[in-house]
Each structure stands twice: as C-alpha cells, then as structure tokens.
Amino acid sequence: MVSRIGRNGSSNGHRRSLLNGSRYSAFSLVKHGLFADDWPRAWRSHDLRSSYDVIIIGGGVHGLATAYYLAENHGITNVAVLDKGYLGGGGSGRNTAILRSNYLTPEGVRFYDRSLELYRHLAADLNFNVMFSRRGHLTLAHNDASLRTMRWRAEVNKLSGIDSEVIDPAQIRELVPHLDTSDTTRYPILGALYHPPGGIIRHDAVVWGYARAADARGVHLHQKTEVTGIDVSAGRVTGVQTNRGPVSAPIVVNATAGWSTLISDMAGVRTPVQTFPLQAAVTEPVRPFLHAVVVSGTLHVYVSQTDRGELVFGASVDPFTSYSMRGSLEFVEGLASHVLELMPALSKMRLLRQWAGLCDMTPDYSPIMGRTPVEGFYLDVGWGTYGFKAGPVSGEAMAQAVATSATPEIIAAFGLDRFSDGALVGEKGAAAVGH
C-alpha cells in the first residue's frame, strides 16, 4: 500500500547518529543548563561556494527536508539551501500546524499518510523534540452534501488502511463537549469525519530539527540569500544569481511557497499557480479543554488548542489573490462569529494576534512536484493550504527524484504535465476548507 522510499522509516526512530558530540538527551540538557554559559547554535553559517551539486531555493520545511533526505538517504551532501529571509519564515512558520491524512483521492491519501508516518518518528530521527501530539481530527458536516463527501472520504481512507470514520452528533459531543451540537443553530452539526491519527505539532521545531540535522550532515544553509535569477543554457539549468553573487549547480529545486511563480518564471517554466493570502489568529492561553482538532468547511474555520493552551484559528484563503501578508478586520469579524457559532462558550476569549501567509493554489488542489521542461530544474510548489503536513514526504520524494533522476511512484500523479494531459488529481473535496 504505502511504498517505502529510501531507507528512512525502517529505523523507526532508533537511528543513532553521529555527529560532533552535539546529540541532545535529557542528561546533556540538564548538564548544559546547569554548568554551561551559553547554548551553541544549532546550525552553522558558511561562505557561499561558487558551485554546489544541488541548490534548493526556499528554506522552509520542504527545502530543508529535501536537503536532509538527500544527505541522509542518498549521501549527497554538497547541497545549499538558499532563503531570502530566515529559515521557516514563510509558510512553515505561518500555518496552523495540523497533521492528517484523510484525503479524498487514493493518490493523496497514500502520499499524506506516508508524511504522517514520517512525522510520527521524526523527533527520534532528527534528535529534536518536534512535540507531535496525536489527538484526533474532526471535520464537521453541516449539510447533506458534506455528509456525503465525508462518507466518500471515509471509504477511500479505509480502503488505504487509514483510521477514518463518520460519527454522529452524540459521539461528537463525547469527544468535544464544548461544541454546540444542538439543532437550533444556523448550521446544525449533522455528523463528522473522525480521524484519530490526526493531530498537531510544533511547526518551528520541525524546521529547526531538519535544519540542524541537515547542517550536521554537511548541507550549507544560507539565510538572507535571495535568488535574483536562474541561469538556463540550451534547455539545462546551470546555476542561480543571488544577492551574494552567482552560484553554479547542475540541479536547482524550487521549494518556495507564495513566491513560487516568481522563481519558476526565472527559469522560464510556467505553472498554473495563483497566490492567495490565508489568515489565522491565536487567543490568550487557557487551561486545556479542547482535545481534538475541529474543522468546519461550511463555517470556514478550524480550531485546535496548543500545548501552551492557546486556541489557534485558521480560515480558508482570502477571496482574492495577493502577495500582501497584512491581516484584515473583515477576517477577524467573520472568524469570531464563526467560532462562536461552533463554541458559544468562547465569547469572552481575547485574540492575541492575527497573521497571514501566502498559499499557492492550483486548479485541482494538489501540488506540482518533479521535473520540468528545463533539464535539472525541479518543482516542489503549488502547496496551497496543505504544504506543512506534506513536508517530510515531499522532502523524501524530492530527494529521491533528484538523486535518481527518476520520478518516485508516490509523486507520479503530481507532475506539471498533468495540466496538459488533463489527468488532474481533484482533491478539492478534502483540501479546501471553503468547500
């Protein structure tokens, strides 16, 4: 069912690594906390070399995971990750950190489930606490049409061996007592798709864990290094231009989100991507009361409670394209009214802050991965609203694609050529909150 790519996964968290004596353990943390002055940096800075074997544009979870798996699974370490800002400053640090694999298409289900499996033992693989919390994921249905889609998804999921079932309002009440499951609301809750393996994770820790592990294996991480051009000659990529000078490389991977169109355009590759902002918000921390992730497509909202006690709210994408990451008052008003329809008891909660991230939406709500008409230029883009949960599997598959020059089977359906062949992977029913 789930194809095993590379070596990763077999060790299942028992990998003993390496490297320069900086392994974290309970003992080393206590010792260091008591007796040392300062904590060493988790990764190093380097001068930019004039050439690398592989250049990865974008220092988020996708780019860093690709670099890590290139080094770990394929022994390719002459790799540079370039980011115009700081590591994890884009979508990787702006998402709502929800993990799940209950998608609608068999291709999607298999793909995201592999990611969930990698996430499950990521802390041990990277020797970094990523705070994965499996707590169950509920997608509410407020009308017959969504209940039908939930049933459909549950059956597709079960065929792939994924724990996923439609439950009724009484069962929902048991899992989340604070939800208003009465039939007097504007959109009464008719049922939900329940996915016990879903959960949340600390997204910054995932980025830092991959960065530290990639650095320890010899990968160069270059922050504040903006790519300003991509050199292509005779249909082959030969390197990139940056604000720190030119770098040559036979392979360049576009692992950016939000600005991916601008990078693809530099190589002359056109992609069916449109950039929409997505806004999210977080409340003051309160005692733990919400033990599952709750999503409502009809009300355009998802809610989870972090380990610190804050409630994290996310929404669907803004109604028009933009590269602006400013929040709007309309969003907060709409969000608050929707959250209160779900959980009236939250009416006295105060929002601490709101923010926006950029989402690269594709026509079929599936990513664009793999080769392009330009030899050596690879895409890992079009991550819409589902990029963070796919980080590990994308890194693993992109590393394999780059190292072996063959498209791994698990991403074969996500190629750029599907938009000229017409073989789209329609994932809207499970990927779009606004659906």
Partner: protein, 77 residues
C-alpha cells in the same frame, strides 16, 4: 480593508465585490489547439505588480468591470 472604485457606484468596500480573476483572453475556439485551450483554462500570470483584473459588484450595481490592481500593495488605478 481595501476599497475598489466601482465605475458606476464609486469607491466601495472590497467585501461588496466578487473577484473574477486576472483578465485572460479566450482563444478563438474554431482554430485553437488542445494545448492552447488547456493553457487558457489553467495558466495565469500571477504577477507581483500591476495586474489587469475583472471584478463583479455583487452587493451593488451587479455589473462586471475591469481595473488594474497592484497585487502586493492592493492599490488600484
């Protein structure tokens, strides 16, 4: 909050409008190739800068109009 200048109703809150996407001329159906048609269906420029767009004033005059909007600052002209 951003405002859009509707040519019929004047400047109004963007919440009154429906975004109809960047202007994307439809190829001549009699002579177009499959590839051209699929490009028309799926590909957009998605530029960061001034973009020609169509909007629909759904909560107002209910007319379509074209406008140039800057996709980073959200200014219009």
């Amino acid at each position: 909050m951003i405002q859009l200048p509707c040519p019929w109703c004047g400047p109004r809150n963007v919440a009154e409008f429906r975004y109809a996407g960047e202007v994307n001329p439809r190829p001549e159906t009699a002579t177009t190739t499959t590839q051209q048609w699929r490009d028309y269906l799926y590909l957009r420029r998605n530029e960061r800068g001034w973009v020609d767009e169509s909007w629909y004033h759904s909560a107002g005059c209910r007319r379509f109009f074209r406008i140039e909007r800057h996709t980073e600052s959200n200014e219009t002209r």
